[in-house]
């Protein structure tokens, strides 16, 4: 154990005395954006709520319709991601709902699915490596053949994305995997492919981040040509006016950053995204604590050696008496 680690360990050891309130005290290094990261930009102001992406997502992933929103079982009406739904367009509404992309008396759309976090809690949570983050592309995949169904990833995901199929006696966890099966064939995610306005836009993470910045820097009211499908792809762009954006990109820093990032004209918390959150993933804290306590198994080993000595000593009398005497048998008979 290095001296620094030891000191760190000692801090935890006496955690009862030395208050470790500052979050960084026990944090492990935050994970970084993978080198060949792919990403998605969802621009809420471009979304027209047509839900083409929801249909495409269901088709691409062969998932059944869900009838949560209505009594009539006419068409797919999920309210949230679930065991049957990986992607949902949600609606923010306020008062008279007059104007799109306005917080007051307005409305706005929100696309809910996995954000493919840079430092994903679900991967950290999973005891059996059933959630993995691709070291190159950064796609967070789920492997049902490994999953034991403990649902710690469900509780642990800060965006409540992974869902279990409760209706099935042999259910599994479901979550958006960035259409990695399509990407493996050189295609782009189904939701981005069908989006008519480019609200869901796929691309290399770097390009996507730059594009988001460009939009923030453009002058509101100016005509802008919004790429569709894939940034730098062959779909013709969609011309529209630059709206008055919130001056930040959601997912750039929040909770350690994400590979699905958001632009919006209404505050992000209205879209249901957690905003009062740190710049690091909670997993950096839990893993920091675990690494400090369990690195090289040093602390447990020291503790165990101590325990062994103490117990050996305190059971000495008992042990010797028990081994040498036959008193018990006599008593028992």
């Amino acid at each position: 154990m290095k001296r620094r680690d030891f000191l760190k360990a000692a801090t935890v050891g006496v955690g009862s005395i030395g208050y470790t309130g500052s979050s960084q005290a026990l944090m492990r290094e935050p994970l970084k954006m993978p080198p060949q990261a792919v990403g998605m930009l969802y621009d809420s102001t471009l979304c027209i709520g047509c839900k083409a992406c929801m249909v495409a997502c269901k088709q691409a992933n062969e998932m059944p319709p869900e009838f949560a929103g209505t009594e009539q079982r006419l068409y797919d009406t999920p309210l949230d991601t679930s065991g049957s739904t990986l992607n949902v367009i949600k609606l923010y509404k306020d008062g008279t709902r007059e104007i799109k992309d306005r917080a007051q008396d307005g409305y706005a759309f929100m696309k809910t699915h996995c954000l493919h976090c840079v430092d994903p809690s679900c991967v950290s949570a999973c005891p059996v490596s059933a959630m993995t983050k691709d070291p190159l592309t950064g796609i967070v995949n789920h492997h049902a053949d490994r999953c034991i169904g403990c649902r710690y990833c469900v509780a642990g995901c800060p965006f409540s994305i992974p869902k279990y199929e409760y209706h099935d006696a042999f259910g599994q966890i479901q979550k958006c995997q960035f259409c990695s099966h399509l990407q493996a064939q050189g295609k782009i995610p189904a939701c981005c492919d069908v989006c008519p306005t480019g609200a869901s836009l796929f691309g290399r993470m770097e390009d996507i981040q730059q594009e988001a910045k460009r939009r923030l820097q453009a002058k509101p009211g100016d005509t802008y040509s919004f790429a569709r499908g894939m940034l730098g792809g062959d779909q013709p762009p969609h011309e529209a006016k630059i709206p008055v954006y919130q001056q930040s990109v959601y997912g750039e820093k929040e909770l350690g950053g994400a590979q699905v990032i958001y632009l919006s004209a209404v505050p992000y918390d209205k879209l249901g995204l957690p905003t009062n959150v740190p710049d690091y993933a909670y997993a950096a804290i839990t893993e920091g604590i675990q690494h400090t306590l369990y690195q090289w198994f040093a602390l447990p080993f020291v503790l165990f050696t101590g325990l062994l000595a103490a117990v050996h000593k305190s059971t000495k009398e008992e042990r010797e008496k028990d081994v040498s005497s036959t008193a018990y048998e006599e008593d028992a008979s």
């Binding site: 955690g15 009862s16 208050y19 470790t20 309130g21 005290a25 949230d80 991601t81 065991g83 809690s121 949570a125 999973c126 005891p127 059996v128 490596s129 059933a130 490994r146 034991i148 169904g149 403990c150 649902r151 509780a155 642990g156 800060p158 409540s160 279990y164 199929e165 409760y166 209706h167 006696a169 042999f170 259910g171 599994q172 909770l255 249901g272 957690p274 959150v277 740190p278 909670y282 997993a283 804290i285 839990t286 893993e287 604590i289 369990y294 447990p300 503790l303 165990f304 325990l307 062994l308 117990v311 050996h312 305190s314 059971t315 008992e318 042990r319 028990d322 081994v323 018990y328 008593d331």
Partner: protein, 380 residues
């Protein structure tokens, strides 16, 4: 020399029959869950993936099960041999607490048939708090059975094996102290991952420490609690003199727990949440009261040797631990405004069934195995 002996007596008493019936109902409903799925049997949902099966049957039940751990700490580490008569019943509590927690996990796991993946080195994920908890709980369950094995060996006259085991027992006792220290604190770490989803009344980096302390408190409280029922139910003299000594340790630990809890809330400026009109705030105060009342009672030394008061104390402390863990894992957990959870009848009956099974087995064990201490048995 063991000094423990079975108390004998009729098995099918009224309480036993009642608990056995409840256990049987629970087992039938568990069969229902395996046939029709978790959704059919429970109110677990996309917002609340964990309900009372995890929180009561595992997180709380293993807290109770720390009786063996808490006593081993006192007897073997602090070398307080005089508590020895309490050890075996405490280990028995641990045996049931953990074994039934393990069974509940199997009921709750969505893909239980792949459970063995936890043990496959190429799937193990050591960064996962869940992994550490699962492995430690599993290992500890095995260890408690070994620690309890002398009771079986004595009962069935396998004295050679017993003698061999007793030479090695210190090793298992030491592991049996190490493992709960690890996983009970990790049960706290587990909730840190929930970040903003857990109310600031409970979310803190001190969760591992607080959970460890709460485990020792619950375990220590279970000993006089169980002892009280044993003495009432089986007409045996209570071990009040031992409990009263033990209560000094409890007093100190409880005082530190409360102090750390209050200091932590203050340093994180989280008190505001305690004065809102929410279920969170209400449950917080209930929890606080349940911790503070025993502390105040223990202040007076006379109280520590008063049998009734010790019983009230132990009930308070067991409830306090239960509420603290329930609050951290369920009440204070807020997945979003659209989600609600209240356990279904079946869920509740399964949980009741699990605890009843524990009690029914306890009755069988103390009647037929040398669990309770002879000194008292003779006096009875």
């Amino acid at each position: 020399m063991s000094g423990y002996q079975p108390i004998g007596g009729k098995l099918f008493t009224k309480p036993f029959n009642l608990f056995a019936l409840l256990a049987l109902i629970g087992i039938c409903l568990i069969a229902y869950r395996f046939i029709f799925g978790i959704g059919a049997a429970s109110n677990l949902n996309d917002g609340y993936p964990w309900g009372i099966w995890i929180v009561m049957d595992v997180v709380v039940s293993t807290g109770f099960g720390c009786a063996g751990y808490a006593l081993a700490l006192t007897v073997y580490v602090m070398n307080r041999g005089e508590y020895h008569p309490l050890v075996r019943p405490a280990i028995l509590a641990g045996l049931f607490g953990y074994t039934l927690a393990g069974m509940s996990v199997m009921v709750d796991l969505g893909r239980y048939w792949l459970f063995y993946n936890l043990l496959l080195p190429w799937y193990m994920q050591p960064n996962s708090v869940m992994f550490e908890v699962a492995i430690c709980v599993l290992a500890y369950t095995v260890v408690v059975w070994i620690e309890f094995a002398p009771a079986f060996l004595e009962r069935f006259g396998l004295h050679n094996v017993r003698r061999k085991l007793s030479k090695l027992l210190f090793f298992f006792i030491a592991i049996g102290i190490l493992l709960p220290t690890m996983h009970q604190s990790s049960l706290g770490t587990m909730a840190i991952l929930w970040g903003h989803k857990l109310s600031p009344l409970w979310q803190t980096q001190l969760l591992p420490l607080l959970f460890l302390m709460s485990a020792i408190l619950m375990g220590s409280a279970l000993v006089p609690f169980e002892g009280n029922f044993a003495s009432l139910g089986f007409n045996r003299p209570p071990e009040t003199h031992l409990y009263s000594k033990l209560s000094t340790y409890v007093f100190l630990l409880l005082g530190s727990f409360i102090l750390i809890r209050l200091a932590d809330l203050t340093l994180r400026s989280a008190w505001g949440y305690a004065f809102e009109q929410t279920t969170d705030a209400l449950m917080f105060w209930i929890e606080m009261a349940l911790y503070i009342v025993p502390f105040v009672l223990l202040f007076k030394r006379d109280n520590r040797s008063n049998r009734q008061i010790i019983f009230i104390l132990s009930v308070c402390l067991l409830l306090a631990g239960t509420v603290y863990r329930l609050n951290t894992y369920l009440i204070g957990y807020h997945p979003g405004p659209d989600w609600n959870y209240f356990p279904s009848i079946m869920e509740i009956l399964i949980t009741i069934g699990m605890f009843s099974l524990e009690i029914a087995l306890y009755l069988i064990f103390v009647k037929h195995l040398p669990v309770l201490h002879r000194a008292e048995a003779e006096a009875a």
